[in-house]
């Protein structure tokens, strides 16, 4: 499931660029590429950048990087094949300088070699998010045409004052006009939606899906044990006891199957128990207890506090001393329950042998009362400290040591797309040890991708809107980290959306990176003069991107300009969603909801 998302976002990094090909905007290579991508019609965004070599790289020449954001379901090999073997030869024009002698004389041999080279340098995204999904570029274009047409019609109808304030009649008349227009025959079918946006959109369906998988798993494990047992039973009944070896193997298989079955069921109960605890402490208790709510909020605030203060310092260390051991203890209990339930049963028996029931209950009540008292005291101290003075919450370190300077090439690129979908490349280095950091980055990105695919299905990642295709790649054998994004609006606003809307995901995605010194890829491109680090985090997911200036300056310093850009969507995520909802409303059944949608579309 995740691979389907990941392979929609591709980067092809080919090292050893000698800079002899003319990549100017009006040059034949770029115009040829533009024509190719338009003709192929399944690439939604594409861009090219030069990646500067690492300071310790053997080859100081930059790499040529091609980013492709393509439609769902297409395998990377297939799209590269389609582009490379296109009769226009545009891809060969782009990459021909990698064959200084001009390459093989036969076009097919050239294509074969180029395909091989590109596949060597191809990476699918380690993780990513797609905003307005389930739409082809052609569909977006058609729906925009429908939106424009509807607005024109609505304007004309309003001018003619045919319907007054009768909203339903107005919407009906618009729908009738659209139905009669053969240009919009394609819109008679509802806009296609993938499973997680249609049947699987509800929480019930998602839980049902997971449960169905779990039940299937249990059934499979049970069958693995039951089938040999059953066959052996039948055999024994028919012909007598088999060889002892056969009996031993069947017993072993049966035992393993039973053990896995037990572990699986207990794992489910453990997860449920942890879920109940999480709901109790994070949702139920804050709802009923004001002081708990305040305390929880205060902990979150302190951990996320961008600057270092005595309050955040003390919260952080109390977290280490109290929070981490508590969590570890709970996890250990869960693991004991899953793998050695006998230990818990024994402990319970030992406890009941030593104490009577009322004594145990009294002990639990006492413990709860003690906990409430401790939290009450802490809360009181917290309030007293807040009242006592600001010194406790005052930052004691400087935030950003210098004013941020943006390279002119980045400014220029941003200027080029100021009225279009914006775009950024960010190239950072992965923290040492690379393998360890890369592992955690991958794990984090898979989680982000999973949530994006299953839960954030309507164009927003968390609360961050306007992302068309945002994707992360680990390149150069785990040494570097590349982030490419196509988004609406400006860079500052975009990062603000991430900082405020998808804080944890963004921190997780970047926290294992650093920015090492590097030269520029070409004249006029940015270099990294001073090594930088991603802003420090607390407990992996807190703070990080909340250090807004540090994070923005870090992101700015890591950016690279594009040398080519292709945008097949040419519309904002909101605009795309609006046009799709208009299509469904206009050609769907007539009801208040659809009428509202039509009015919203024509008036926005």
């Amino acid at each position: 499931m995740l691979e389907m998302v990941r392979q929609q976002m591709i980067c092809i990094v080919v090292p050893g660029w000698d800079g002899t090909t003319d990549l100017s905007e009006s040059g034949s290579v770029c115009t040829g590429l533009d024509a190719l991508l338009k003709d192929v019609a399944v690439v939604q965004f594409a861009s090219i950048a030069l990646l500067p070599a690492r300071a310790d790289a053997k080859d100081p020449r930059p790499s040529l990087m091609l980013e492709l954001a393509i439609e769902e379901g297409i395998a990377p090999y297939d799209i590269v094949y389609r582009l490379v073997y296109h009769p226009s030869g545009a891809m060969w024009s782009l990459y021909s300088s990698f064959w200084p002698g001009g390459g093989p004389p036969l076009q097919s041999a050239r294509n074969d070699q180029l395909q091989g080279k590109l596949m060597e340098g191809l990476t699918i995204a380690e993780g990513g998010f797609i905003g307005a999904r389930d739409r082809t570029a052609r569909q977006i274009e058609k729906e925009q045409d429908l939106l424009q047409w509807t607005r024109d019609q609505a304007r004309a109808m309003k001018a003619a004052k045919l319907y007054g304030d009768d909203r339903a009649a107005f919407a009906l008349a618009l729908a009738q006009r659209a139905f009669k227009n053969p240009r919009f025959d394609w819109a008679l079918d509802p806009a296609p939606r993938s499973y997680w946006r249609e049947k699987g959109a509800s929480i019930g369906a998602k839980i049902g899906y997971v449960l169905a998988l779990f039940v299937l798993w249990l059934a499979a494990v049970w069958l693995i044990g039951a089938v040999p047992r059953g066959l052996l039973g039948v055999y024994t009944w028919l012909f007598g006891a088999p060889y002892s070896g056969v009996q031993a193997v069947v017993d072993a298989v049966s035992k393993v199957s039973g053990w896995v079955l037990g572990v699986s069921i207990r794992s489910l109960f453990a997860l449920l128990g942890l879920g109940v605890l999480a709901v109790f402490f994070l949702l139920a208790l804050p709802a009923v207890s004001k002081s708990w709510r305040r305390w929880l909020k205060s902990v979150g605030r302190e951990l996320d506090r961008p600057t270092e203060t005595w309050s955040s310092w003390s919260t952080y260390w109390v977290g280490w001393i109290v929070g981490v051991p508590t969590v570890l203890a709970v996890v250990a209990c869960a693991l004991v329950f899953i793998f050695c339930p006998g230990t818990i049963v024994d402990a319970y028996h030992a406890l009941t042998a030593k104490f009577l029931g009322w004594q145990i209950i009294a002990f639990i009540i006492l413990a709860i009362v003690a906990l409430i008292c401790v939290f009450g005291v802490l809360s009181r101290i917290d309030q007293q400290l807040a009242a006592a003075g600001n010194w406790f919450f005052h930052p004691y370190e400087d935030d950003v040591p210098r004013a941020q300077q943006v390279d002119t090439s980045i400014d220029h690129c941003e200027g080029l797309v100021v009225r279009e979908t914006a775009h950024m490349f960010s190239l950072t280095d992965i923290r040492s040890p690379n393998g360890w950091s890369a592992f955690w980055i991958r794990a984090s990105l898979r989680i982000v991708t999973l949530f994006g695919r299953v839960f954030f299905t309507e164009g927003r990642l968390g609360d961050a809107p306007g992302i068309h295709f945002g994707h992360w790649h680990i390149i150069e054998k785990g040494r570097r980290y590349l982030f490419c994004s196509n988004y609406d609006g400006s860079f500052g606003g975009y990062l603000d959306d991430f900082i405020n809307g998808a804080t944890i995901g963004t921190t997780l995605a970047w926290r294992w990176t650093t920015l090492k010194r590097r030269g520029s890829a070409a004249i006029g491109q940015p270099a990294v003069e001073e090594p930088r680090s991603f802003p420090p985090t607390r407990f992996i997911v807190f703070r990080g991107v909340k250090c807004e200036l540090k994070f923005k300056s870090y992101a700015r310093d890591s950016m690279l300009p594009h040398v080519f850009r292709f945008d097949a969507r040419k519309e904002t995520v909101d605009g795309i969603n609006l046009a799709t909802s208009l299509r469904d409303a206009l050609f769907g059944e007539r009801n208040d909801s659809n009428d509202d949608q039509i009015m919203r579309a024509i008036e926005s």
């Binding site: 297409i74 296109h86 499973y195 049947k199």
Partner: protein, 425 residues
Amino acid sequence: MKITPGMPDALPPGLRNLFYGIFCWANRHPGALRAVGVMLRRWPFVAGWLGMAARASAVKAVLTRPNSFSNTAHAANLSAGDYLIGMDPGATYTADKILLDDRLAVLKATLPAAADLAVQAYVKALQPLGADKSFDLIEDYLMWIVFRAMYPLFGPATDRVAAGATGSLNDPGLQRQYLLEIRYVAGQLLAGSSATLRVQRRAELNADALKSRIAGVRTDIQNAWSLPGHNIDRNAIGLAWISHPVTVQSGALAVQELLGRPNVHKALREEARRLGDPGVWQCAKFRASVRDHVLELMRFRPIFPLLARDVPRATEFETGARHNATCPAGGKMAIWGIAALFDPEAVENSRQFCPARNWGNQADLRWMMFGYGTRQCPAMVYAVEILTSALIGLLILPELQLARGEGKAITYDGPLMSQMRVSFI
């Protein structure tokens, strides 16, 4: 308007892979389909409940009612656009059918001689290979033989079609690219809507490429066919993707079946050895015998063991049970061609491999792997002729076996065979 392709997957993750996996497995193991077919024939009312025709009489009856059981079921899988196989009878269908029959008629004059010549050339090229060297029966033999044998379909435009509008006519790699392109488009017809998104998208990409290719050489085709242009693209595209890949795949399946029957293979090789090299091409009796073998091999491994039909309006069909089965309007039904081909009521000793079987009044059933009735494949005779030549070529080569020691000898791409590595013994 190209808007249907690119549909997202509306099934829960994993389910499509499961269905497609079962479908592909069943296609690769016709024995399993035959076993299910036995049950459906035995209890035709069950087949009726499931909307399936399995008995020979039922299959024939359904396939002779194209208005009630429509070919439009194929339309969704025609990634390169509409073509005869997915059309309902009508003016467009009639015009396109006439055009197709005219194009196929040119093969009457050239086959089997053209196929024999192509086979002889490839036999000569393969002969020097020793026992230790394997070759791909599909990519190194069948694909090119069928291409050469079907050369007259596009006449003088064939090389331009294969090379593309701007490609070099002397670049065999471009021809290979063309043949792969049409294979994937044809593959979608077999894989159907159960195919994974990846397979569907690949077919769509290649269909796009094929459409651009044909549009680029439209004038060449127009000149070769001496026809006005308005129907050229649709028919040229359809003819390109359906003629070649289906024949190649049928040939590969026939050889696979033959290699699984060493006695039959041995007997045929013995006869070929007795006749000698020029003799095998001249002896009409031997050719007829090999043709019978090809048909019998295809009976055991048909390329389309199951077919689907749309039911535009509510109707019934005769399953062979006491009562007819009802088909609700807007539904679909499945035709178990493979079950019909093994129906003991229609085919004597149906489970036996018997190329020289006397089919009696069921002679038409013998060609059922190509469909039946008015919508039967119009190129079936030519396809069998080409495969007969290809098989004769294999019989005069040193004895074949599936290659060992290089991983799997047969590689599948979904339900299709993409590679069949063989070596001489």
